[in-house]
Symmetry: C2
């Protein structure tokens, strides 16, 4: 499906060379920063700075015009005022450039006729010259594999998550959140006003891209709603597609108009459209990245019947109570454990100071040693009523009781359990007063494919989203190499 | 109001001496850990370990029985099996102990008749002996001023926020979150099953306590709903009272039964009760601490008409769009700026690449220098339509553009602006890939009385809660020394 997009957009994600128009020696203009960014990241092909004053930047010659660059140019990044963009497109056509990305702003997002006119002229020129446009008013491509970061951004590890974002700010935030939480991207794109290539094109590319298994999207509006709807309807059954719609409210829509020139239609229309097309709708950057994280980390899925284990250290009762609330209120089922499991837990932990229903409070294990704790968690995980296990840890309580060494043993056990059972083990690790230790622990768990969240609410929402998707598309999704569904995903009821 | 409670509970929060029953030399039993905790924290009075085997712990003599302690004993912490608690209460009565806190569990929370019977016997003995009971099944008192931490917990700075929590885990988490986010507590209490002193007593104490200006509560259930309702109705108008009810859902309520023996009634009944009594209801630990933070940090309040400023660095448009959504969806009003403000912003920032409505995107200021940025923020803050200003920062974007030095200048400006204007300046600082730098910045802003949140959603919820409270109780609350309301708080519509 959409295989033709792979070839069509290859110069966008894997350009053999990049020219940056708007660079100058010793300036901090965006064009110059872009040259620094690409060179520092180790972009594998030639980078050609272009600027009217000539000179050198990072020892690279600055060419006065794209046409005067000696080698072939696949891709051009443009950071010059809008007055010069039409002429530049002529030059690019002559040079045989494949795609041009405009950082340049000042078009339809200003909502004046002149802006719309200029965009139409750009589009005409691009079509005549055989050049594709990304933007204007965007920060373009992120491709760790091909060592293309966003402007002044860092490169994370390459991975299996793709994203499209109408907003450069959100795109940048997705990239940095990815670095922080080990959400590893195949590629990402920010396309701004999207006058030529837009969300539909990039979604089709990511659907066909063999490196991409899961897709996230931040969208504000579209100029071709029918095409977008049809694209989402085709993409969603094949790869999980998680969509965050910005500009759902009046205040958001007002800003979206000025931001990407989007006529943001009502949030309700989008919600209905996304539901019908089979995509997952989320409502914040957190929910978007949380859901992508689950799809990236989890390989086996059975459903959304959740066990909640709290009290790995003293005083977990209230944490279990509120964990039960948070799961239920976010759509998960928290079924009672079987009487057999409860009997064995009682034998193991005793009744005093324990909660042996579900949520489970295993506080008492701390007086009985780690093997007891591990046995208790293992018992809960094996219960047939349970599809997914949420374990609440708190670094501020764990550290003084178990010390660093015990903590490591506990987490090695989670990793081992996660790979032994075909059920996702999900860790909730809230912020507290020992942040460096918490972040270190989070990294270890993430590296071992365990999803980590900072609250039960956020974990529950992401689990709910994942389950809704797999309930609807489970059979088809299992045809991709990514998801092994031992059972048809069950609804959480 | 409730002044008699100050005297009555003085031995709980300011005991002159503490005995810990259940300590033994060289063990890691809870009693011994409690002795370590109190001694390490520098509790100002004598700490008397009590344990049948004698010996020494931390160079302190372990007494075989409370009665044999040479000095007076105000307060006793009990960590022995439930079989021995009745005899202990006899000893405490003889010794003239004022209050006994039972860490000991295994009572009504097990939902067997024996547990209820034992609690009744304890209560009878305590009443006969003139001893007050905290718990059982609780971790007791947190009082930074008097150097009493929770078991194995750290002490934060003393401050003006009081809390009561039925759960020890939640109480501990409130304390550590306080340390991390500079929410400074006057005192806190975890009271578990609450068979004698319960939520109502402690809320009354905090209402009367001159050190406490704002009160947070985590409650699961109560044995005397009428008394609790009447207490909340009397306390809420005088000091902001923020209540998180655990066990709102069936899964949560099941756990609450096993946790503190609470018959958690339905969430809807609690919501109605809290609304009627004039308290603020919240639904998570995050929302509870976020709301307490605003009440602690902010001294002037005008209403919930919010300005959202994004784009302090490149690419903020989408962040502004989603910020507008998040504020609106969480009940804030995001009014248009006056045409005068917009005109001046246009002059300052130009139209290209800016959003000059509200949300405001000030990206273009980065090409014009910090004075322009400061002027733009000042203009927005001074707009008469605006009551509260949310500024979105992102450490991952700010650092490469402004470097550490610029960042510090920006934040000094916020602090100066916050003290110059009578409008709260609130900073949203989401996690990213530079956590140590972000945490450092957060600490600086918090220390300067600026509330900091990790998402617009969370900030908006806390602002909404604060405003709802002040709309209802504004006039009365302004009689306390804490809140100076230059205007009657306005509703956000």
């Amino acid at each position: 499906m959409f295989e033709e997009k792979l070839k069509e957009l290859e110069p966008v994600f894997y350009p053999k060379s990049i020219a940056v128009v708007g660079a100058s020696a010793g300036s901090i203009k965006a064009g110059s920063l872009w040259v620094h960014t690409l060179v520092s990241a180790g972009f594998p092909g030639p980078v050609y700075p272009v600027g009217s004053r000539g000179g050198r930047i990072r020892e690279l010659e600055i060419f006065p015009n794209v046409r005067l660059i000696p080698g072939d140019v696949d891709y051009v990044i443009v950071a010059i005022p809008r007055q010069s963009v039409l002429e530049l497109l002529d030059d690019c056509a002559v040079k045989g450039v494949k795609a041009v990305q405009f950082f340049t702003a000042g078009f339809s997002e200003m909502d004046v006729q002149q802006g719309y006119n200029l965009e139409q002229q750009m589009l005409d020129k691009a079509r005549q010259g055989g050049v594709r446009i990304i933007g204007p008013n965007c920060i373009g491509v992120y491709c760790p594999e091909w060592r293309i970061p966003f402007l002044m951004g860092r490169l994370g590890e390459g991975g299996s998550v793709g994203f499209v974002s109408q907003s450069g700010g959100v795109a940048g935030k997705l990239a940095t959140t990815g670095i922080a939480r080990r959400i590893n991207y195949s590629k990402g794109i920010s396309f701004g006003n999207g006058i030529d290539l837009d969300a539909s094109d990039f979604l089709q590319y990511l659907a066909a891209d063999p490196k991409t298994d899961v897709i996230g999207a931040y969208l504000e509006g579209t100029r071709d709603g029918i095409r977008l709807f049809n694209t989402i309807k085709e993409v969603a059954p094949v790869k999980p597609l998680v969509v965050w719609k910005g500009g759902r409210t009046e205040a958001g829509a007002q800003a979206a108009m000025s931001h990407t020139g989007s006529l943001a239609s009502s949030g309700a229309i989008w919600s209905a459209m996304l539901r019908q097309a089979g995509a997952i709708e989320v409502h914040s950057l957190e929910e978007l990245t949380d859901t992508l994280l689950i799809f990236q980390q989890v390989r086996h899925w059975q459903g959304a019947n959740a066990a909640i284990i709290g009290g790995l250290a003293d005083g977990g009762g209230g944490i279990s109570v509120s964990g039960g609330d948070a799961c239920t209120e976010n759509g998960l089922n928290v079924p009672p454990l079987s009487s057999k499991t409860r009997r064995e837990l009682r034998k193991l932990l005793g009744e005093v100071g324990s909660i042996l229903r579900n949520p489970v409070d295993v506080s008492q294990s701390q007086f009985r040693g780690l093997p007891t704790l591990f046995q208790a968690i293992d018992l809960v995980t094996r219960d047939a009523a349970i599809d997914v296990v949420l374990i609440q840890e708190d670094i501020d309580i764990l550290l003084p009781i178990y010390s660093q060494k015990g903590l490591e043993e506990i987490n090695e056990f989670f990793v081992e359990l996660g790979s032994r059972q075909n059920k996702p083990i999900i860790v909730v690790l809230p912020p507290g007063s020992a942040e460096p230790e918490r972040l270190q622990l989070e990294q270890k768990l993430l590296a071992a494919s365990i999803p980590v969240f900072c609250s039960v609410e956020r974990a529950a929402k992401a689990i709910f989203n994942t389950n809704m998707y797999l309930c609807r598309h489970g059979n088809k999704a299992s045809h991709t190499r990514r998801f092994e569904l031992p059972l048809q995903a069950r609804s959480g009821s």
